[in-house]
Symmetry: C2
Subunit: 114 residues, 2 copies
Amino acid sequence: MSNNNLIKGSLQTIILKLLEENDKMYGYEITQRVKELTEGEIKITEGALYPALHKLEAEGMLTTEIQQVDNRVRKYYSLTKDGQKEVSAKMSELQSFVGNLQRILDPEWKPGLA
Amino acid sequence: MSNNNLIKGSLQTIILKLLEENDKMYGYEITQRVKELTEGEIKITEGALYPALHKLEAEGMLTTEIQQVDNRVRKYYSLTKDGQKEVSAKMSELQSFVGNLQRILDPEWKPGLA
DNA sequence: TTATATACATAAGAAAGTTGGGTATAAAAA
DNA sequence: TTTTTATACCCAACTTTCTTATGTATATAA
């Protein structure tokens, strides 16, 4: 990520969630998707992404499949069954954390009221 | 923080924001306030808190003042002028980060719609 | 008398990033 | 034609920030 010392810990969730929505993605594609969705505000660095992908694969959350496209190698990742379960877990963890953050930082804040 | 490896870097923002609202707080008080506000869901560990306070002080964001209360020492922290500026900076950083997270994780999400 | 609460602090280690490097192909710009 | 940019993968050194464990000290509750 760039310009953000925040995020540590949410990268895994981002990867898993994108793969839940897209079924199959390769590393470079993930960086571009995130850049797109955030209008360039979050840039996932390769030094963060690839180790995270390898770790998730080692933990059995992802499987890989290599494809040749235009003489270039692409490594596609998809969710395993464990990975599918993990998406929900990580998502609710993150959502409850963000909710708690709001309660700390914005005393006016109530869930569901913008 | 406990049970939450999420969003490293938000502890500083939490400290600064609480001090903006309360003018003057001591370490233990901060841990209790956060526990209160999140109904026990976020527990700031002392191993995280005290180094963070010392760092913010070293950076000139906070000043300290020691008080004796019931034979116990309390170290009160307050914002410096630089600290006051930093609160706004950190808050908008964090808010924009959370917004970007929503854009990635919840494609339906629009700002201001719950 | 022992555990819990209050109140500070440090230190070893883990986790997860950044930064900077490397390899390789293809297309666009200088 | 050479260099830069884009695509596509990877690793290693380092830094930051947290967890876990420990230590000191007083006061209160079990």
